[in-house]
Point group: C2
Chain length 152, copies 2
């Protein structure tokens, strides 16, 4: 099947590269914000985005290899591996992005910490925004692979 974004296609490779780069950008912005380690949720965001970088980078390499050697990645065992990995990574990423977003909303609206210049709220928000984009791209990939598994 030639579904958009399926493994071993150019669209699939672009999705993986997008996930990997947005997750890496999210880590970069978060690490550059001083004092992020005071909140457990932000440390968890970095860990979860790190996992997503590893997973997406690995699959991007696999897609690239399949594109260059014109091999077909769509056998049931490989696709079920992709499905399990994609779902676990997607749920962890969404959980990390949402818990960090909850903490940032608490900082800015409920506790009023963001009025102080010592807390880099805008960096936190940018990092969480990048994490949500990365999660959204991963969610597309995981729905496509789940659909492929059901249709194989």
């Amino acid at each position: 099947m030639a579904l958009f974004g399926s493994p071993g296609k150019l669209s699939g490779l672009l999705l993986r590269v997008g996930q990997c780069s947005f997750a890496a950008a999210s880590i970069g912005v978060m690490v550059s914000a001083p004092g992020f380690f005071n909140s457990t949720a932000f440390c968890y965001l970095i860990a979860s985005m790190g996992l997503q970088v590893l997973w997406s980078f690995g699959l991007a390499c696999l897609d690239l290899h399949a594109l260059r050697s014109k091999r077909n990645l769509q056998n049931p065992i490989l696709v079920s591996l992709f499905v399990v990995g994609d779902w676990v990574t997607a749920i962890l990423s969404l959980a990390a992005a949402c818990s960090s977003a909850g903490v940032t909303v608490l900082y800015s609206r409920d506790l009023g910490y963001c009025r102080s210049p010592h807390i880099p709220c805008s960096r936190f928000q940018a990092s969480i925004f990048l994490a949500f984009i990365s999660w959204f791209l991963l969610a597309i990939s995981s729905h496509v692979t789940f659909w492929l598994l059901a249709a194989v």
Copy 2:
């Protein structure tokens, strides 16, 4: 197909009743905790669990009707409606549960608010735990309906 938990089956009805009751219990525990309205994340948890109660209760009624009149709910249009509703509700529930969990972890580990007897941290934790159970049951339902849609 007679998949576990598919709409119009007894297992599907039990899943919906479970989602509905755990979400209602989560709202109940959160409302009984004094001071929950000081955090935006907890208010969002209540709103999202309220949506889940409505959605799961509606589908439980539909399942019950299908069981009693022995009708088949598995035509493509109905199943795609269920898929869209289930996914939207499941993502909102997970987001609400995770953002509340992030705030609770911040309260208990990073800010040390839970040492004060005025903040009912154990009620917050119980409510979030119930919300996660409710989300887990909804995730089973939504994967089953997505699988049915792909196989219809």
